[in-house]
C-alpha cells in the first residue's frame, strides 16, 4: 500500500481534549491505524498528553508544533520537513495575524520557504493552492469548539506524497458519514 501511494502523512490538530471536546469521534479514530503512515504532522492543541502519545504510536516520525493551548508541551513554534520532493512547513496558526488570513499565511510560507504550509487554529479545514504553493488546514479532528464559529465539523487530512506530487485527502465527518475529498498538487522545482 505504501508503495502505491508513496509516503503517507497524517495531518491533524486542534483536538482540544478535554477542554473543548471529549474525544476523537469513533468514525475518524477508526481510520487512524498504526503502521499505515510514515509521518504524523500535528498542528498542536491536542489537549492531553495521552493523545500526543497515541499519535506517536501511529507513525515512525512525528512533527508536532506548539499550539496556544499547549502550555506544558515542549514543541517548537514551527517545523519544516521534507516528504518526497516536497518541503512542508507546519505551524499552529495562532500567531498568524489575522488568524487564517491568506496574505499573512503567505508571508509565513515565504519566511519558511516551503512548498506546503500547514496551519491550524481556525478549526476549519482548508485545502488551497495558490501561486504554486499549497496551504492546508486539517481543521479540528474532534470538531472542537472555536469561538464565534458555528457548524464546526471534525476533520483531518491525509497526504500521499510521491516525488513532487502530493495527493490530498480531506476527511470530514458530517453527522454519521465521513466525506472524503481528494485534490492533487505538484511542487514546482526550484
Amino acid at each position: 500500500m505504501a508503495k502505491d501511494f508513496g509516503e503517507l502523512a497524517l495531518v491533524l490538530g486542534d483536538a482540544h481534549v478535554p477542554g473543548r471536546a471529549p474525544k476523537i469521534p469513533a468514525k475518524l479514530k477508526r481510520m487512524l491505524v498504526p503502521n499505515k503512515m510514515q509521518h504524523v504532522l500535528c498542528t498542536g492543541n491536542m489537549g492531553s498528553r495521552e493523545l500526543y502519545d497515541e499519535l506517536r504510536a501511529l507513525a515512525p516520525t512525528q512533527h508536532f508544533v506548539c499550539g496556544d493551548d499547549d502550555d506544558d508541551a515542549d514543541f517548537p513554534e514551527e517545523t519544516i520537513t521534507q516528504i518526497g520532493d516536497v518541503k512542508v512547513g507546519v505551524v499552529h496558526g495562532h500567531d498568524v495575524q489575522p488568524w487564517g488570513d491568506a496574505k499573512a499565511l503567505e508571508a509565513r510560507r515565504r519566511r519558511l520557504d516551503v512548498d506546503v504550509l500547514i496551519s491550524g487554529h481556525t478549526h476549519r479545514a482548508e485545502v488551497r493552492e495558490e501561486g504554486d504553493y499549497l496551504y492546508l488546514n486539517p481543521g479540528t479532528i474532534t470538531g472542537a469548539y472555536a469561538p464565534a464559529s458555528p457548524d464546526i465539523v471534525p476533520s483531518f487530512i491525509l497526504l500521499a506524497v510521491q516525488g513532487p506530487k502530493v495527493v490530498v485527502y480531506l476527511y470530514e465527518l458530517h453527522g454519521d458519514s465521513v466525506d472524503v475529498s481528494k485534490s492533487e498538487f505538484t511542487a514546482q522545482p526550484k
Binding site: 478535554p18 498528553r49 493551548d69 502550555d71 495575524q97 489575522p98 469561538p147
Partner: protein
C-alpha cells in the same frame, strides 16, 4: 509377577526402575502372546496375555507411571482382540472364547481378558450386547483396589465404546436399546467414581496432599464416562432429563467428595449441550446446594452461567439469556447463602453474587432489575468496610455492571447500590471502579441531561472528583482529570435551560476538586458554557446568564491556571462579540488583560498570551470603535514592554495590524442591530470593572499613522538588537513583510520608499552575515520576499 508392597505409597526414587522392569516384562510376555496368536494357539495366547497383565497388579507405581504401563499393555491387547475376532470369523463360538478367557486364577488379568473377549463377543452379535455389557460391568467389581480398578474400568469404557446398543447402531434391537447403553455407562461411571473417591481415604493421613494430587491426575479416567454419555446418539433432551442427569447428580451428591463434586459437575457442564442444561437447570442447581462445604459452588455456578451465556451469545438472540435461568441461579445462590452461612466467607459470598451479576449483565442486557437485585443482595450482605480478598471480590463485582458495554448512562444511574458499595472499598479500588465507570459513561456518549443524573453519577465518581491528590503524579492526574473533564461535553439536551442546570450542577461537583483537578476540569466547563451561550434560548437562562457562568468559571480558573483562564476569557470575548454583546465582550477582554498584567508567570507566557490577545482583537469584528482603540493601544503597549527585544520587535510589528483591522463589509452599510438591554450588560457580569464608555455603533477604524508608528518602532527595536552577538537579520525581513502587507492593504503612509530603504538595509546586513544555516534561512526568506516585490513591481530591484 510384580511384588506387592504391603502398605504405604510407592517409593518415588525407585519409580524409573519399577516402570522399566515392568515394561520389559510386558514387552516380553506381549511378544509371546502375539506369537501364540500368530500360531492360532488360544491357550498360549491367553496364558502369555495373563502373564503380561499380571504386571498391572503392581502397587509400586505412581498413577502417572502406572498409566504408562497401562498404555503399553493396552497396545499389546490389541493383538489379542484381533486374534479373538479372527477365531470367531473362522467358526469358534464367541461364547467359548468368553469362557476360556475366565480361566485365569488372578482376578485383574482375568477381567482384562474378559473385557477384551466381551467386546469381541458383542461385536460378533452372537449375544445381545446389553447382556454382555451388563456382565462386564458387574464382573469388573472384582477389582476394588482404587487405582487398579480405575484403570480397569477405563479399559472397559474404551473397549466397549463401539459396542453399545446406541440408537442407530447395529447392536440396537436384539442387543438392547440406548437405555442399556446409558445404563452400562452410568454403572461404569458410578463404580469408577466410587473407586476414585476411595483413593482419598487410603494410606496414612500425612500423605493426604500427595494423594489429592494423584487423584487429580486420574480424574480424566472418571470424566471419560461422561464424555461417552454425551456422545450417545440416543440421548436426547428428554432422556437426559429423565434417565441420565438424575443418576449422575445423585452420584455427585452421594459421593460426598470435595474433589469429585466440582470436577464432575464441571464435566457435566462441559460435555452436554446447552439445551440439555436449560431443560434441567433446576435439578442441576438443586444439586449445587447439596455439595460439601469445601466445594466452591460459586465457580460451578459461574461455569454453568458462562456456558449458557456463551451459548446464548452464539445464537445471537434478542434477549441473550434463556428465560428463567437467572431466577433459577438467583434462587440457588440465595439458598446457598441461607444454608451455608457459616461456611461461606465474605469473599465467597461476594464472588457468588459477582458471578450472578456478570451473568445478568452479559445475558440479560435489558433486565436492569437483575443487576439491581444482585447489588441489593450484596449490599445487604456487607456490613462493614472491606479489605484484602473481600475488597478484590467486591471490586470485581462492581466492575461487571459499570464496565459493561450494554450499560447505558441511564441504566447505570438506576443502580442505587453502586455508590454505597463503592464506599466500602479501600480508596485505590474505589478509584478504579470510578475510573471504569467514567470510561463507560464517556464511551457510551449518552447525554447527561438532568442535574439529578449528575448528582448520582458524581456520587459514584466521588473518589476521582475530590479528596487528597497528593499521592498522584502529574501525569496520572492529568489522565484521570482529562476523563473527568470530558463529562462536560456530555451535558446535552434539547432544552438549553436543562443543559445550563446540568452544567451548573457539574460545576459545583467538580469545583470541590482542588487546584490540581480544576485546572483541567474548569476549562472544559467554561468552553462547554461558551458553546451553550451561542445557542441559549431558554425561557429561564439567556445567553447572558450563560456568559455569567463562564465568567465565574474562568475567574475560578484564573487562580489555578492563569494562562488557561486568559484564553477562556478571550474566547468568551469573541463569542460575545459574535453575538454583538459588546459590553460583555469588553468585560471578558478586560479580564484577560488584567490576568496578563498580574498573573502570567514568565515572558514566554506573555508572548503567547499577547499573540492570542492581538488575534482576538483582530477577530472581534463587532467591537465598539472606542473600546477597540483602547484595547489595541493597550496591547501595543504590552508588546513594547516585552522582556526580550526580538519579542518586542515582532509583537509590535504584529500589533501594527491592530490599527488596520479587516473591515466588515456590512459594518459600513448598516451597524448590527443593538441587542436589547445593552445597558444591563455590566450588571450581569459579576465583579465587572466600571462600565465602558457608552457604545457607539460604529465599526472599527483604521489608523494609517499608528500602523507606521508600530512598524517604525519595530524597526528601531530590531536595529537595537544589532549590537548583540548574533544580530537577528531575519527580523528585518519579517518587518519588510509587514511593510509589504500594509502597502498591499492600501495604507497610504506606507510608501515604496520605505520598502526600498529596508531592502537596501537588509541586502547590506545579509552580506555581513557569517555563512551558515542562519544565513541560508534568511537568504531564502529574503529571496522569496524580493520575488514578491518584483512580482508586484513595488520597487525596482537590482
Amino acid at each position: 509377577m510384580a511384588l506387592r508392597q504391603s502398605n504405604g505409597a510407592p517409593s518415588v526414587e525407585q519409580q524409573p526402575r519399577y516402570l522399566a522392569e515392568a515394561s520389559r516384562r510386558v514387552q516380553e510376555q506381549g511378544f509371546y502372546a502375539k506369537k501364540a496368536c500368530g500360531a492360532r494357539d488360544l491357550p498360549g495366547a491367553l496364558r502369555h496375555s495373563s502373564d503380561m497383565l499380571r504386571e498391572l497388579r503392581t502397587s509400586l507405581l505412581t498413577p502417572r507411571n502406572y498409566y504408562e504401563l497401562y498404555m503399553k499393555v493396552c497396545d499389546e491387547l490389541r493383538h489379542l482382540d484381533q486374534f479373538f475376532q479372527q477365531l470367531v470369523a473362522d467358526g469358534t463360538p464367541a461364547a467359548d472364547i468368553y469362557e476360556r478367557a475366565q480361566a485365569c486364577g488372578d482376578v485383574l488379568p482375568r477381567l482384562y481378558l474378559l473385557i477384551t473377549a466381551g467386546a469381541v463377543y458383542v461385536k460378533t452379535m452372537q449375544a445381545p450386547a446389553r447382556d454382555i455389557l451388563h456382565d462386564l460391568v458387574e464382573m469388573a467389581k472384582g477389582v476394588q483396589h482404587p487405582m487398579r480398578g480405575l484403570f480397569l474400568r477405563h479399559y472397559l469404557a474404551q473397549a466397549c465404546k463401539d459396542a453399545l446398543p446406541d440408537t442407530g447402531s447395529k447392536f440396537e434391537g436384539d442387543g438392547g436399546d440406548v437405555s442399556h447403553a446409558v445404563d452400562f455407562i452410568l454403572r461404569n461411571f458410578g463404580e469408577t467414581n466410587r473407586l476414585w473417591v476411595r483413593m482419598q481415604n487410603q494410606g496414612p493421613a500425612s500423605q493426604k496432599k500427595r494423594r489429592e494430587e494423584e487423584r487429580k491426575q486420574l480424574k480424566i479416567l472418571v470424566g471419560t464416562n461422561l464424555v461417552r454419555l454425551s456422545q450417545l446418539e440416543g440421548v436426547d433432551e428428554s432422556r437426559y432429563a429423565s434417565d441420565v442427569l438424575p443418576p449422575l447428580l445423585e452420584q455427585v451428591v452421594n459421593c460426598r467428595d470435595a474433589i469429585a463434586q466440582p470436577y464432575l459437575l464441571d464435566c457435566i457442564i462441559n460435555v452436554f449441550p446447552d439445551e440439555f442444561h436449560l431443560a434441567t437447570l433446576d435439578s442441576f442447581l438443586t444439586c449445587c446446594t447439596q455439595l460439601r462445604d469445601k466445594v466452591c459452588v460459586r465457580s460451578i455456578l459461574e461455569a454453568m452461567m458462562r456456558r449458557l451465556a456463551n451459548g446464548a451469545r452464539q445464537e445471537d438472540s434478542e434477549v441473550l439469556g434463556p428465560p428463567g435461568a437467572f431466577d433459577a441461579f438467583d434462587a440457588c445462590a440465595s439458598r446457598l447463602v441461607e444454608e451455608k452461612k457459616e461456611a461461606l466467607k465474605v469473599a465467597d459470598l461476594i464472588q457468588l453474587r459477582a458471578a450472578l451479576l456478570e451473568f445478568a449483565v452479559e445475558c440479560y442486557p435489558g433486565e436492569l432489575e437483575y443487576v439491581q437485585r444482585c447489588l441489593a443482595q450484596t449490599s445487604a450482605a456487607i456490613m462493614n468496610d472491606v479489605v484484602g480478598d473481600d475488597a478484590m471480590e467486591l471490586e470485581t463485582l462492581l466492575l461487571a455492571p459499570v464496565s459493561s458495554q450494554q450499560m447505558t448512562l441511564a441504566s447505570l444511574l438506576t443502580l442505587d447500590d453502586i455508590a454505597p458499595l463503592t464506599r466500602r472499598l479501600p480508596i485505590e479500588q474505589r478509584k478504579n471502579v470510578a475510573r471504569r465507570c467514567l470510561r463507560r459513561v464517556l464511551d457510551g456518549d449518552d447525554a447527561l441531561d438532568s442535574p439529578e443524573a449528575v448528582v448520582k453519577l458524581c456520587a459514584i465518581l466521588e473518589p476521582l472528583l475530590c479528596g487528597d491528590d497528593s499521592s498522584m503524579n502529574d501525569e496520572a492526574l492529568e489522565k484521570e482529570q482529562t476523563s473527568v473533564a470530558s463529562l462536560a461535553h456530555l451535558c446535552r439536551s434539547e432544552s438549553t435551560d436543562d443543559v445550563f442546570r446540568v452544567l451548573g450542577t457539574l460545576r459545583r461537583a467538580l469545583g470541590k476538586g482542588g487546584s490540581r483537578r480544576t485546572a483541567y476540569t474548569l476549562p472544559a466547563l467554561a468552553y462547554r458554557g461558551l458553546e451553550l451561550a451561542r445557542v441559549a434560548n431558554g425561557p429561564e437562562f439567556s445567553a447572558r446568564k450563560v456568559f455569567q457562568f463562564v465568567h465565574e468559571t474562568a475567574t475560578a480558573l484564573a487562580g489555578v491556571a492563569p494562562a488557561r483562564a486568559l484564553r477562556v476569557f478571550l474566547a468568551a470575548a469573541l463569542e460575545a462579540d459574535a453575538q454583538c454583546l459588546g459590553a460583555i465582550s469588553y468585560e471578558f477582554v478586560s479580564q484577560a488583560f488584567i490576568l496578563y498584567e498580574d498573573e502570567l508567570p514568565d515572558s514566554k507566557a506573555q508572548v503567547k498570551a499577547l499573540r492570542s490577545m492581538v488575534g482576538t482583537l483582530l477577530a472581534a469584528e463587532n467591537c465598539d470603535a472606542a473600546d477597540y482603540d483602547a484595547l489595541a493601544a493597550k496591547a501595543t503597549q504590552y508588546a513594547a514592554k516585552l522582556f526580550r527585544k526580538p519579542d518586542q520587535c515582532r509583537m509590535v510589528a504584529a500589533c501594527s495590524h491592530l490599527f488596520w483591522p479587516p473591515q466588515r463589509v456590512e459594518a459600513v452599510e448598516a451597524p448590527p442591530p443593538a441587542p436589547a438591554a445593552e445597558d444591563d450588560d455590566a450588571a450581569t457580569v459579576e465583579d465587572a470593572p466600571p462600565p465602558p464608555p457608552a457604545p457607539k455603533k460604529e465599526g472599527r477604524k483604521r489608523d494609517p499613522k499608528r500602523v507606521l508608528e508600530c512598524l517604525q518602532r519595530s524597526l528601531k527595536t530590531a536595529d537595537a538588537c544589532m549590537t548583540s552577538a548574533q544580530p537577528p537579520i531575519s527580523l528585518f525581513v519579517e518587518i519588510l513583510d509587514h511593510y509589504l502587507a500594509h502597502l498591499e492593504a492600501g495604507n497610504p503612509l506606507i510608501t515604496p520608499k520605505y520598502i526600498a530603504g529596508l531592502v537596501a538595509l537588509i541586502t547590506e546586513h545579509v552580506e555581513t552575515m557569517e555563512a551558515g544555516e542562519a544565513r541560508e534561512a534568511v537568504e531564502r526568506h529574503y529571496a522569496n520576499t524580493r520575488a514578491l516585490i518584483k512580482a508586484r513591481g513595488v520597487i525596482e530591484l537590482d
